[in-house]
Amino acid sequence: MKGTLDRIIGNRMIFLAVLFVFFFLLLAVFVKDFFTLYNLTNMTQYAVELGLLALAETFVILSGGGGIDLSVGSIMSLAAMVIGVLIGRAGMSMALAVPLGLAAGTFMGYLNGVLISYTMIPPLIVTLATMYGYSSLALLIAVDPRFGANPMPVSNFSDSFYFLGQFRIFEIPFQVLCVLIPIVLVLLFLLNRTAFGRRLYGVGSNETAARFSGISVRRVRISVYTLSGFLCALAGWIITSRVASARPDIGSSYLLEAITIAVLGGVSIKGGEGTIGGVVLALVIITMLYNGMDISGIQPIWQLGILGVILVGAVLLNQILIARRRI
């Protein structure tokens, strides 16, 4: 028995798979309405924005050197507001506004990367500062002069805007099929099968050796933060389309969840370790848990609390696994 337990805990993917099955059965049996086609397909739509942010964190944390991005929620809010204001107030077409919004978010990520790589300021501090800076920017953009100096959400989008967030194909939400899954596949390829992915793992697992092996640590790190900015902006677009309104504070609670999913999925805070597969599994588990808690009427606030507990537990688990490895 102990041997099996050891093996389960020892292999992250197996552990997550077991966890998934466990919670799935638990919820299916004890929570009414969980195990229905509607619910199962419905809950996947919440997973998209969260998943994008978690994947963003994954790449950033993988790059090591204390890599972390606290500004993911803020970039998401900012991109959402840019798109919202451009379409809703400036009357721009979607085909123009969306790319601009995505570009804005990507640039914010790039800025993070540059600050981190060219100054010696720890990523924690840089993204802490930009977290507040970017959300402040989002608030400023949201100010509608017609209504005074207060930030206002934007909700007057044309119907075509909602295809992204509210459309379904065979009951499966559009954004899952056409955004999340393709992105996951692309990132999977990027991380496991490209030279860039190689370099990323190298920089994260041993920065000095990477430098001595001819890898440009700077370029790799700037790239991951830029990628993070892009993914967050994408999430901002999707959620705006889904809830039919652009709000400047839309990203505030996502930070903790994104990091929790990444860490639970096996991404080591030290860098150089982690897989997309693990993160996706963790995403599924967390989404399931949230959904289950929602349906059974547990208040959102307690959900956040439970999430905090899960985060700490997940990191503890990581520590145990690393200690067992005896390098």
């Binding site: 972390i68 600050l115 100054t119 010696m120 300021i121 720890p122 924690l124 501090i125 840089v126 802490l128 500062a129 930009t130 977290m131 507040y132 800076g133 970017y134 959300s135 402040s136 920017l137 608030l139 400023l140 100010v143 100096a149 930030p151 609670s253 930070l255 903790l256 990091i259 860490v263 805070i269 208040q299 606030i301 307690w302 959900q303 956040l304 609390g305 999430l307 905090g308 507990v309 985060l311 700490v312 990191v315 503890l316 520590q319």
Partner: protein, 316 residues
């Protein structure tokens, strides 16, 4: 004599004081209201909460850690105070309860960080959200307002025409400055931040030091929560959100190095003063309050950058 003068001038604290004076002069010349007693008094009142918690945050950052949960700790302490006020509890009970609430949060952080060996950012990020959730739960999503004036003097009272909270801050800073200088636990904090390995070998108990700095920070956040309720008379669900950024900004502006090992309480007080001045200036100059995040975030980056450039220049 000359070397002493030069050394004094090189001190970070003096530089900040200089900036504060310059900024104050500029503001008094460009705005009508800056020099009025009410404005100065309000500014001091506003920055007291930050100054108080900056004591603990300075020590936390000196040990190489960080605490983003202070806002939630402040929140929960203010909720506890608010609820007890509405229940007509006596002042001493309220004070102790609020302190205890903050202390408990800090202790929780300290325990998990020490014994779980988890990075402080992760732990305090987790507790920040957990405590905020708890706060919502206790308040039931509503605000508390119109509290009895049992502890109001704490927040709005004056002594020698300066707000009481400001005096509290001064007293606490003086007390802890002496503490750091005269107790080995104080030295241990700086030793840990300078060279944790050497400290451990010299017999410093790193876990106890961690417990100390984080629970102190929590307790101080509790005091600030108390003052907040006393000042405003209301308890909101989002009391204290964004507070942690201001405290970190004050500490960093005050010369504490983000990499650990270096920082003074007086410096953080001056940092808080500078921050308060800038915020006051923004209000007087009609810069939208929404830009606060941009300004504070930018300040943090600039301050840390200056520190890093200086450190690099000083190395032999």
């Amino acid at each position: 004599m000359k070397t002493t003068v030069r050394r004094v001038l090189q001190m970070r604290e003096v530089t900040i004081l200089g900036v504060i004076i310059v900024l104050a002069v500029v503001l008094s010349l460009t705005t009508k209201n800056f020099l009025s007693t009410s404005n100065i008094s309000n500014t001091l009142l506003g920055l007291s909460g930050i100054a108080i918690v900056s004591i603990g945050m300075t020590l936390v950052i000196v040990t190489g850690g960080i605490d983003v949960s202070v806002g939630s700790a402040l929140g929960i302490a203010s909720v506890v105070a608010g609820k007890l006020l509405m229940a007509h509890a006596s002042a001493p009970v309220i004070v102790v309860a609020a302190l205890a609430a903050g202390f408990a949060v800090g202790m929780l952080n300290g325990v998990i960080i020490s014994y779980g060996n988890i990075p402080p950012i992760i732990v305090t990020l987790g507790t920040m959200n957990i405590i905020r959730a708890l706060l919502f739960g206790v308040l039931g999503g509503r605000w508390v307002s119109g509290v009895p004036r049992t502890i109001t003097p704490l927040g709005l009272g004056r002594f020698l025409s300066l707000p009481i909270p400001f005096w509290i801050a001064l007293v606490l800073i003086a007390f802890f400055s002496v503490f750091l200088a005269t107790r080995s636990q104080g030295r241990a904090v700086y030793a840990m931040g300078n060279n944790a390995d050497a400290a451990r070998v010299s017999g410093v108990n790193l876990n106890r030091t961690n417990l100390f700095v984080y629970s102190l920070t929590g307790a101080l956040a509790g005091i600030s929560g108390l003052i907040y309720v006393a000042r405003t008379g209301i308890v909101q669900t989002n009391s204290g959100t964004g507070f942690e950024l201001e405290v970190i900004a004050a500490v960093v502006l005050g010369g504490t190095s983000i990499l650990g090992g270096k920082g003074t309480l007086v410096g953080s007080l001056l940092g808080a003063a500078l921050l308060g001045l800038i915020q006051n200036g923004m209000v007087l100059l009609n810069i939208p309050a929404l830009s606060e995040g941009l300004v504070t975030g930018g300040l943090i980056i600039v301050a840390v950058l200056i520190d890093i450039v200086r450190a690099r220049g000083a190395r032999p």
